[in-house]
Structures are given as C-alpha cells and as structure tokens.
C-alpha cells in the first residue's frame, strides 16, 4: 500500500509540472495585463508601457517568465503578484477559507441526506418514496447550478421586496455587520449557495447509494445472512449498509477535491469572496501569478483527493489489493 501511494505521488509530480507549464503558457496568452492602461489615453505612453512590460517580464520568452514564476512561488510563499505587488498567500487563503466553509457544509448535508434517501429507496424499491426521489434526483442532477442559483436569488429577492423580511440573503458573505465564521448572519448569507451546491451533490450521492445498496442486497453473502435467519434490520445495518458505503466514500472524496476550486458560477452569482470568484477576478485582470497560484492549489487538491479516494477504496474494501 505504501509503495502504491509513493508511486502515485511520484507519478503525479511530472504531471503537475507539465500541467503548470501548460497552464502558465495558456494564462499568459489569454490576456494582456497592460490592457487597462492601453485603454486610457493618459496612460498609454510608450515609456510607461515599455517600463511596465519590463517589470512584468513581458519582454522575455515564456520559458524565462515561467522560471520567474517558479522562483517566486518557492521564495515568496506562492508568489507576489506582479501587477499589484501584493503577496498572494493572504488573499488566496482567505478565499479558500470561505470556499471551504460553504463546500464542507454542502457536502456534509448532501452526504447525510443522500445516504439516508439512498438507503430507504433501496430498501423500499419501486415504492412511491423510491420513484419520488428518483425523479427528484434526476431533476437535481439535471439542473445547471447557475440556473438554480439564479432562481433562488429571484425568489428570495421577491420575498424581501414583498414582505420586507430577510430569510436568506442573496449576495455577499455578510451584511452590515462583518460576521464571524459561524454567526447567524454568515449562515443566512451562505444558505442559498449551500443549497445550490447541496442539490447536485445530493442527487449524485442518493443515486450512487441506491445503486450500491441494490448491488450489495443482491449479493451472495447477504442472501446467506438472510438464510441464516438474521433479522432484516441487522442484515441491512451490519452487512449491507457498511459495504454499500464504500463507493460513496470514494465518490465524495473526489467531489470534495473537485469542489475546492470553488464553484465558480455559484460564487459569481452570489458574489462570494471565495476561490472561484478570486480566480475569475484575477483572470480578467490577467494577473498571471495569482491565477497560477489558484490553478496549482486546485490541481494539487484534485490529485490529492483522487489519491485519497483510491487509497480509501483499497483500505475499506478487503477484496481490492494494490500492488
């Protein structure tokens, strides 16, 4: 197992390096950091543009610029933005904190609800409960997050306009009061984004749980347990449930890794100071170092959580052996 993990990590390093280089080339090509200055008739003098070109290393080849970035990452804690001369670490960790809170909450709720619904759907297969929730899952899975977010926003703005009461806020992380992480004001603000993210994940988990439960319920050892005369409740909760949980654990690890990049659209619609919003913002400003910092964090989280998912799978399922 340990050798498997080390091998996977070693394999990911060249992948990460190659990915970072390609991303860097793409980000550098995607926009011009001097665009805003060129647009303004007072700021587009050749001397200013040339000087800034030199400061931003734009007068050098992309390989040299990549190397400058790598240097900056290791000597200055993820780098100092060339455009704003500000260290990236404080900003990105702040954004990461906000995203973590929302994503964690959404995933935990989705997991609990999804697993519960999945179990009951499987036990009561083809019942009204099952059909209702299958439809709900399909709907939830099919709904694009930006649409759901917009609809929630429209609904709650309407409620505020009609009845002048704020149930949930439709944008920002806090209102007049700067709130601490778990205050009521903060929760009221992140409720809608959490709901948006929960819906899709819930659909995924409930479908997976149901399929996985059905798979296990029809397997031989469960039939044996029943034949042995064990009460149904014990069969379900000691044998079926635990084994059915295995794929869910791995899927949720994968989901979490992917969502750490911040649900870009949800954060944009609700104007949350999170990873996705940070990324889009910095990308539009062509702030290469900040965008690269974001991409590296996301890439590492995806790779790490993929590895965690695979390891967990091997850890929990004795039938799987990694060599």
């Amino acid at each position: 197992m340990v050798s498997y993990i080390t091998r996977r990590i070693l394999y990911s390093i060249p992948v990460l390096v190659a990915s970072s280089f390609i991303s860097f080339v793409f980000v550098s090509l995607a926009g011009d950091p001097l665009a805003n200055l060129r647009a303004n008739p007072r700021t587009n003098s050749p001397q200013i543009l040339n000087h800034l070109k030199h400061v931003y290393h734009l007068d050098q080849s992309v390989f040299v610029r990549y190397w400058y970035w790598v240097e900056s990452v290791f000597t200055q804690k993820l780098g100092v933005s060339l455009l704003t001369s500000q260290p990236i670490w404080p900003d990105i960790t702040r954004a990461l904190g906000h995203t973590l809170q929302i994503v964690l909450l959404a995933q935990v709720i989705a997991l609990f609800l999804g697993v519960a619904v999945g179990i009951f759907s499987a036990i009561r297969q083809y019942s009204v409960f099952d059909y209702t929730f299958t439809t709900v899952s399909f709907l939830g899975y099919a709904m694009p997050t930006f649409w759901l977010a917009l609809i929630l926003q429209i609904i709650f703005v309407d409620i505020y306009l009609k009845w002048h009461v704020r149930i949930f806020y439709t944008s920002g992380l806090n209102s007049g009061v700067i709130s601490s992480t778990w205050s009521l004001d903060r929760l009221q603000h992140i409720a809608l984004p959490v709901i948006t993210l929960t819906v899709v994940s819930f659909a995924l988990y409930s479908r997976y749980m149901r399929a996985s439960m059905l798979d296990v319920i029809n397997s031989d050892y469960v039939r044996t347990a029943r034949a042995k005369g064990l009460p149904e409740r014990l069969v379900i909760f000691r044998h079926v449930f635990r084994n059915a949980l295995i794929p869910i654990v791995t899927v949720s690890a994968l989901q979490f890794g992917a969502l750490l990049g911040g649900a870009i659209v949800t954060e944009t619609i609700f104007t949350l100071d999170g990873m996705g919003y940070y990324f889009l913002n910095r990308l539009q400003a062509s702030d290469v170092y900040a965008v690269m910092a974001y991409l590296m964090i996301v890439a590492i989280s995806v790779i790490t959580f993929n590895l965690i998912a695979d390891v967990l799978y091997g850890f929990l399922d004795p039938r799987i052996r990694y060599d």
């Binding site: 990915s19 793409f26 399909f138 609809i151 429209i154």
Partner: protein, 322 residues
C-alpha cells in the same frame, strides 16, 4: 406474428463470442416443443431499451426539443435578431405569438430560445460523437499495447484532467479571435475524450488475455483486426452510454461558459448566454427562467435515454426494467 407466443429471452452471460450468446442449452428447450429464436445481442438490447418507460419518455422529449432546434428556421415565429423597440420587455403572452415574451430590445424570446436549442444541440452532438471516437481509439491503443505506451497515454490523460477548462478556453478563444461555435466545440472535445478513453482502456485490458484473443493471434490475425473485430464490439456498450451522457454534459458546459460570457458570442444565441442576459432584469423572470428550463429538460431527457441504454446494453443486468 411469426414469433411463437412464448419466446424465451435469455439474458446473455458476461462472456461473449462475437456477439452471439454462448452456453445456451438448446436441446432441452427444443425438447419442450418451444421454438427458439436466436437473437443477436443487439436485438436483445433494443428490446430492453424499447421497454424502458423512462427512456422512451426521454427519447420523445429529445425528439421534440432537438427537432424544434434543427428545424428552427421553420418552427420559430420570428428570427432571433428581429428587434422591435416598441415592444420591449413584455411578459409571456399570446399577443403577437410572443409566447416566451420579449427581451430588452423587443426580440421574440421563444425564437431566441429555439435558435439557442439549435446551437446547443449542434455543440452537444458533435462533441459527443467526436470525443467518443477519439477516446475509443486512444483507449484501444493504450489498453491493447499496454506497457510504456499505456503508461504514457494514461499520463497524458491525467494531464488533460488537471488542465483548467476555463483558462484553456479563454486562451484558445483569444488566439483564434473570438468564441465561435466551432472553437468551443473543438475545445470541449479536447476535454471530453478522457473518460471514454479510460473506460475503453479498462475493457481492453481485461479482454486482452481472453482465450479467443489468444486464439486469434495464434491464427495470425493482425493487431488491428483483433482490436476492431473482436475486442471493440464489447466496448460499444459503455461507449454508447458514455457518449449519450456526454451530450448533456457538453451542452451544460457550453451553457456554463456562455453564462460567464466566454462561450459562444453573439449574434448566435446560446441558452447559457440567454440566461446570463436575464440577470440584469431580475423582475423579468422569463428571461432567465425559460432558457434554463429548456436546459433542464434537455438534460433530464438525455439522462433518461442514457439510463435506458445502460440498462439495455449492460450484460450484467439481471433484472429487466419493466
């Protein structure tokens, strides 16, 4: 009806030899006086699919929606860029056939949504087909040749997975000058082939050591013949299912990109950019809600069809969904 009143549908076991189910006890069945109609794997699959209620609903929905999109020029009551500054931001009504209302410069919204469907379906179908083909070839080569070829190809796949979609899109769009429909399609194909390649590779890896492959090689069949004639048909099931679901995925991804303003640029209407445009007028709910609803319907229908296909083509299926 030429078939006997009772025909026995034998669920094909996992192992397949050229698509013909093996290991059926023919003698005992014939002895009971029943006729046996030997059906190919595909006709079993087709029957199971056609019996799948949800899949049929989905198929019907898709035909209606995609059909409207494809025949946009005939179905849409107006063109998508006909402005009418006297009729701005009207709610949906039957007046003047503006069933979906009008937008901020008086364009008929139903027409815009229909043209948007056309754009989306073009993107979705092309992306699904091309990425499936590419993924198939890629996975086949990786799974068949194994060794360093496989290793290298899998690392390439990993690399593609860690690349950010948005940034790549923006770059290519900036380089090629603007987001045309085909630029977006091309980029989406570049991201969508990886899961199919993985699946095909997995199947190939497991089939490679089967006896019939060894036998074929012993007889002197070339690599390509073995790959395409013997092994490929077994991957078609998952590939078709994956490809179908990819249609929905591609449409949603394109809508998401257009929503951020980076997808297909005007004048071509896209469902995503229509939803985005509605954001500035939150009281005019039809601008955001209706195109999104169409998106949801498309995805649901595609998912139903995909589910039905998976049930039909999955040889491990033990229950037939009634």
């Amino acid at each position: 009806m030429t078939e006997p009143t009772t025909s026995i549908d034998v669920a094909p076991p996992a192992a397949l030899v050229d698509g013909i189910p093996a290991g059926i006890q023919l003698d005992s069945i014939a002895a009971q006086g029943l006729e046996l109609k030997a059906r190919s794997q595909w006709s079993y699959a087709r029957r199971r699919f056609l019996r799948h209620k949800l899949a049929m609903i989905g198929l019907f929905g898709l035909v209606v929606i995609f059909g409207a999109g494809a025949a946009a020029n005939y179905v849409a009551p107006y063109t998508f860029d006909q402005i009418d500054l006297t009729n701005v931001l009207h709610a949906p009504s039957s007046v003047g056939h503006h069933f979906f209302g009008t937008d901020e410069i008086g364009r008929d919204y139903l027409s815009r949504v229909i043209y948007g469907i056309r754009t989306s379906e073009q993107v979705g179908l092309v992306v699904a087909v091309v990425s499936s083909i590419f993924g198939l070839i890629f996975g086949a080569i990786a799974g068949y040749y194994r060794g360093w070829v496989d290793n290298l190809m899998m690392r390439v796949t990993d690399l593609v997975l860690t690349l950010p979609v948005l940034v790549t899109l923006l770059t290519v769009a900036a380089l090629l000058g603007g987001g045309s429909q085909w630029t977006i399609t091309f980029i989406l194909v570049g991201f969508f082939w990886t899961p199919i390649a993985r699946v095909v590779r997995g199947v190939f890896l497991s089939l490679r050591e089967k006896e019939y492959v060894e036998a074929a090689r012993a007889v002197g069949a070339g690599d390509f013949r073995i790959m395409f004639r013997h092994m490929l048909p077994n991957t078609l099931g998952p590939v078709i299912v994956n490809g179908t679901l990819a249609v929905a995925d591609a449409i949603i991804t394109e809508a998401f990109l257009s929503f951020l303003g980076e997808g297909i640029k005007p004048p071509t209407p896209s469902l995503g950019s229509l939803v985005a445009g509605g954001q500035q007028y939150p009281q005019k709910w039809w601008l955001s809600v209706l195109p999104g609803l169409v998106l949801v319907l498309i995805v649901i229908c595609v998912n139903f069809v995909g589910d039905g296909l998976r049930d039909a083509l999955d040889p491990q299926q033990r229950r037939v969904r009634a």
